[in-house]
């Protein structure tokens, strides 16, 4: 526990941790700001303004029609109308539009978690501090476990705060410049669960990043490993062999976040209909959990036997 406390304090003192967390926070703040600027509440004033704008657009359209339409179609010009008022008012509706924002934030937080976890362990290999640490705590599995746990909990705590702040900010925007109609405990609970799954995904990514860096002994190596996997396997290889889709990481992460994911694979014959495979939330959780466990175990076994020079 002492070791975990030391590792957690060290994680929170790292510049990379704060820079990446603040960068993501800034990006999410920009998104919220953009939503706030573009959203207008559907009240009497905005509806009246939208109706006036719609009438103006209709009048312009009728005038253009009379000038340019052939004589036989001139009669139709008077029937032209402006766009519906509800389409004129871009209102951020918390009930229907929040979920994609939270999913997007969760994906970004997971990436942040991986970078933080990989950087946390990779830096120790690069700086050569690990050898010195092991002369204080020679139980290597304990050392690695403390680092993985610190990366996961540190990133998870950050993700929790950012997700909560993001949801709060979106709700505030909806309340002041959009619509919170229909918001009830069911929706709030659903969004909190979605945010919670995002936090858990971030923790898993951070632990995976730490394990990957322990395995390849560098931050850049761990980042390259994951980037290479997504490019080579999830993009290129999947393009050639669509049948591998249900076995990849991305659909399972999607299933975990979105409660379900559908993966389309080719049918059994060239003329057959494609097959649709549904991955459940718990299926995604089992896959990601198993993958993480395997990564940590392999990293632990390798680290336990490796010569530290």
């Amino acid at each position: 526990m002492r070791l975990f406390g030391v590792e957690l304090r060290r994680l929170l003192a790292r510049r990379l941790y704060w820079v990446t967390a603040l960068a993501l926070l800034g990006l999410l703040a920009l998104i919220v700001g953009q939503v706030a600027v573009s959203s207008r509440p559907a009240n009497a004033a905005t509806i009246a303004a939208a109706e006036a704008e719609s009438r103006q657009l209709a009048e312009t359209a009728r005038r253009d029609c009379r000038l340019h339409a052939p004589p036989e179609q001139q009669a139709n010009c008077d029937s032209l109308v402006g766009p519906p008022t509800d389409q004129m008012i871009l209102t951020f509706r918390f009930v229907t539009e929040t979920e994609p924002f939270v999913v997007g934030a969760s994906v970004m937080l997971a990436l942040l978690g991986f970078v933080i976890g990989a950087g946390f362990v990779g830096a120790e290999w690069s700086a050569g501090t690990l050898a010195h640490l092991l002369t204080w705590e020679p139980r290597r599995l304990r050392v690695l476990a403390a680092k993985v746990a610190a990366a996961a909990l540190g990133s998870g705590g950050t993700a929790l705060l950012i997700t909560a702040g993001y949801l709060g900010a979106l709700y505030t925007v909806a309340l002041t410049r959009g619509s919170v109609d229909g918001v009830g405990s069911g929706l709030i609970g659903s969004l909190l669960l979605l945010g919670g799954r995002g936090v858990l995904l971030t923790m898993a990514a951070a632990a995976g990043g730490a394990a990957a860096a322990a395995l390849v002994r560098s931050t850049s190596g761990a980042l390259g490993l994951v980037f290479g996997y997504f490019v080579a396997v999830e993009l290129v290889l999947r393009g050639f062999f669509q049948g591998i889709g249900p076995w990849l990481v991305a659909p399972h992460a999607t299933a975990w976040l979105m409660r379900t994911a559908r993966v389309v694979t080719p049918g059994p014959c060239p003329t057959c209909d494609p097959r649709v495979i549904t991955i459940s939330m718990w299926g995604g959780a089992a896959y990601l959990g198993g993958l993480l466990l395997a990564a940590v175990l392999v990293a632990g076994l390798t680290f336990r036997r490796r010569d530290i020079t």
Binding site: G5, R9, R15, A127, A131, H132, W136, P138, D307
Partner: protein, 318 residues
């Protein structure tokens, strides 16, 4: 293992893989015993296996064969318990660059459950109190070495393992480290000092082990290692040194001025020097046999300093 040994290795062997395959033997059946309560020098040329040996006993590198016992317990099996009583510097230990010296030591103290007051004591001891708030990356090489020594002293060790601790230290720092080692041994602790500075080892160490090519060459107290290895030189003082040099040269000795004395080499029996000079009417005021120094013994025992390939960095050092 003898009851008075703080470290004993027997038959230790370690080979590293090379880039092109094959294996390079870094430690080859090494036997070594470090007695308790002394400063023990660990000497060997570059690539002789000193650091690898230290890494093995500290559990950083796995030995291919052999056994090691530290403070009476087998290592690496008992390292978690043993390391609570051991302070170690292996090569230049690295600390977290963005942390201050104090914070680095507090992190280590936190792992061992030591009180923060101990950190302040050690900072005072190694002369870093005034710079304790500064980031490690702003430290000079000497200050980094002081911090490393401070870290090694944090646990009030019974055994202090120091690998080239004088690197980067100024004369005052070297003096402080020397005094620290002596103080620790007075208090009953033991020090294993791996160093290339032979004069330093000769000055501070009570006993030494010399290794070459991963093998034990000689060990014992410094006086034992030097004993029986006469240099074949004597220093004499006579009234007419120039005439004395001529007489001795004619007699087949090597002779040259050394300050106010004459250094005579090729001497198998000092009585012959006295006899030759007396035959020509010159009488000695003083004759002092020149004792072999550790450097000459070291060079004699470890052979010519032929270049030895350094091990692959990814696989291991020395």
């Amino acid at each position: 293992m003898g009851s008075d040994a703080v470290l004993e290795v027997t038959g230790l062997r370690k080979a590293f893989r090379g880039i092109r395959g094959g294996r390079r033997v870094a430690v080859d059946g090494l036997d070594m015993t470090v007695p308790a309560g002394v400063v023990h020098g660990f000497l060997g040329p570059n690539g002789s296996g000193k650091t690898t040996t230290l890494r093995i006993v500290l559990g950083l590198v796995r030995a291919d064969a052999g056994a090691a016992r530290m403070l009476g317990r087998p290592v690496p099996a008992a390292l978690p318990a043993v390391l609570r009583q051991v302070g170690a510097i292996v090569e230049q230990p690295q600390f977290f660059p963005a942390f201050s010296g104090r914070r680095n030591l507090r992190s280590l103290a936190g792992i061992a459950g030591l009180p923060p007051g101990r950190v302040e004591e050690v900072l005072e001891l190694v002369g870093l109190r005034d710079r304790a708030k500064d980031r490690y990356k702003t430290y000079s090489l000497g200050m980094k070495q002081r911090l490393a020594i401070g870290a090694a002293l944090l646990r009030s060790p019974r055994l202090l393992i120091l690998d080239e601790p004088m690197n980067g230290l100024d004369p005052a720092g070297i003096h402080e480290v020397r005094e620290t080692m002596r103080r620790l041994t007075r208090e009953g602790a033991s020090v294993l000092l791996s160093s290339h500075i032979l004069a330093e080892v000769e000055q501070v160490c009570d006993s030494v082990s010399i290794i070459s090519r991963g093998r034990h060459v000689r060990s014992g107290s410094v006086s034992e290692v030097l004993a029986g290895r006469p240099s074949g030189e004597v220093l004499i003082r006579i009234a007419a040194p120039e005439e004395g040099i001529q007489i001795l040269t004619e007699a087949g000795f090597g002779a040259r001025r050394d300050g106010t004395q004459v250094r005579v080499s090729g001497v198998t029996d000092p009585a012959l020097v006295t006899e030759r000079l007396a035959q020509r009417g010159h009488y000695l005021a003083e004759l002092t046999p020149v004792r072999a120094d550790l450097e000459s013994v070291f060079l004699e025992l470890t052979g010519p300093t032929e270049a030895r390939p350094e091990p692959e960095r990814k696989e291991g050092t020395q």
